[in-house]
Symmetry: C2
Subunit: 338 residues, 2 copies
């Protein structure tokens, strides 16, 4: 690629300015001249240099996207949503996958800053410490706008799209209660993470609303691994005074729960009613009929990209307020909650 606007100008017998004009549909240019230029462009198979254009205009038409695990469909959906909207807005995406590593996230932010992108959409890794968050805040203040997309931690003091985990926990639990259950267990993630705490709050709130005393023996925590909840479920089924229903707060843990039921020849909801969190649609396809609440990830990507555009627009007008959008998880009922 050595062909530049100069070559086109020469070929068409006009100035570089004129070529630039037809390239960008800006300013006046005689139809005849335009034709000549376009011919030259086709003849020489010219494609404008976006880098040079960016340098000249100080606009990259590019945004940065940072996610912890692109191979996890949850984030895949998010990126898919972002991509769809970015397309419409004529924006390119520079993607960084951080593997949940804090140092990779930091590196990504630094590189993004150097690329002079127009904005950043980030789903912070749940392992992230406060230092990255501070750096992110600096970037947001002094360089480019940041929008948080957050399945995990709710960031204050940033623009962002979040999922109402409390609401999810509440609805899941209320569903079990309305189905007649009063002895309800929860298999939750580790309480160090915000969503685990939030879902737990929702769980408690539902119990309270219906005047149900929470039984501490019915409360379990695990690290989102199926094996843990597999053991927990086996334990539950062997309790003297077992719960009749359980709220399982992640897709992998639902699997372990079902494995345990299967192995013991038990069935949901008869032996134990179940409601999960996250998308476990695969199970429903094969007829397992597991109910769940899930956070709309694709929608989060879409909303996030739209929000970023809005933030960019507002800043042009000197408005620096943060925008926030909270999405409600959706309840998908298949029968296992009865």
């Amino acid at each position: 690629m050595a062909i530049t606007i100069r070559d086109i100008a020469r070929e068409a017998g006009v100035s570089r300015t004129t070529v630039s004009r037809v390239l960008n549909d800006s300013g006046y240019v005689k139809e005849e001249t335009r034709q000549k230029v376009e011919e030259a462009i086709n003849k020489l198979n010219y494609s404008p240099n976006a880098i040079a254009r960016s340098l000249s205009t100080s606009k990259t038409n590019t945004i940065g996207v940072v996610v912890p695990e692109i191979n996890n469909p949850f984030f895949g959906e998010i990126v898919s949503g972002i991509s769809q909207e970015a397309d419409k807005a004529g924006l390119n995406i520079i993607l960084y996958n951080t593997d949940n590593k804090e140092h990779k996230e930091l590196k990504a932010l630094q590189l993004l800053k150097e690329q002079r992108i127009q904005g950043i959409l980030i789903t912070p890794s749940y392992t992230e410490g406060t230092s990255n968050q501070k750096y992110l805040k600096t970037i947001d203040r002094t360089d480019v706008p940041v929008v948080i997309l957050d399945g995990f931690v709710k960031y204050n003091d940033f623009s962002g799209v979040f999922i109402d985990q409390v609401n999810g926990g509440f609805n899941a639990t209320e569903t079990l209660i309305k189905a007649g259950h009063r002895k309800i267990a929860i298999i939750n993630g580790v309480m160090e993470t915000r969503p685990a705490r939030d879902r737990h709050s929702g769980f408690l709130a539902a119990l309270e609303k219906y005047g149900i005393q929470h039984n501490e023996d019915y409360e379990f925590n695990a690290h989102y691994q199926w094996k843990e909840s597999y053991e927990i479920t086996k334990h539950i089924l062997s309790m003297e005074n077992p719960p009749t229903a359980v709220f399982v707060t992640s897709n992998m843990m639902i699997l372990g729960c079902i494995k345990a039921l299967n192995e013991l020849g038990k069935k949901a909801p008869d032996d134990l009613a179940i409601i999960g969190f996250d998308n476990v649609d695969m199970l429903n396809v094969i007829g397992m009929n597991v109910s769940y609440v899930y956070g709309p990830s694709f929608e989060m990507g879409i909303k996030g990209m739209q929000m970023l555009n809005e933030v960019i627009e507002r800043r042009k007008n000197g408005i620096y307020n943060n925008l926030n959008d909270i999405l409600m998880p959706q309840l998908i009922l298949k029968g296992s909650e009865k």
Copy 2:
């Protein structure tokens, strides 16, 4: 961001060249001067402009990645592998998600060309016509090297990493045969796609090797939907002379197959032995124990990125041969194939 190399130069009392030198660790620079410059950089919180650098050096340190559906974990794994290697090589990724739309793919390629990226990694959409392929070839020849990562169609005349679908089909089938089956059905994708044909070839080759006559009644095709294979499986189970085993060539279709078995109160492998294609590990977690062969997508991403680097290197030396790597699918046996 208005701070440039100029400001640093002024602040440190040196020339821009010197600043550039410390920035890039190139050329000689007295320790004392370096200190001064670095202080200025920190003081002014300067971050170099990658765009300007790219324009000056004609190197973007960026590659383009084009996939059909980033929300599908198969492609997520690929991108994850690419990302890991790109990181090591200090390359950024511009990502385009084409939604399996031909026009989006074309657009992506054009934009990528304008971005002056160093190379392209693409998993062509299976809906793609020949026109995009031609354009891709042009790009590969005249602009930037292209490496194909291919779950679907094998492109000739390009560098690429492919999965040996024939081998996958053969091994799956041979496994069933070795387990004692002679009446073997296949639920395959549509034969218009290359992988369906390839898997079919492997299937036939295995039958032939063991002297088994292929029964045309045992051959089925569908559009990779679970519902279709659900119906097909029900049909199979009601045949007068039913097969004792079935090779199901995609993850979604395996689900339909199992749903049918479940509903009819049948079990694999006793009522019907099964072997699948693609990763269906979720089923195994809940104790369904479904065997399958699958193409190593993460590895494909890694190998692809490495290959692209190699191609780039070779071209610098005027070598334009295509590189090829064919990955063998892996056999995961869980019991359903017996």
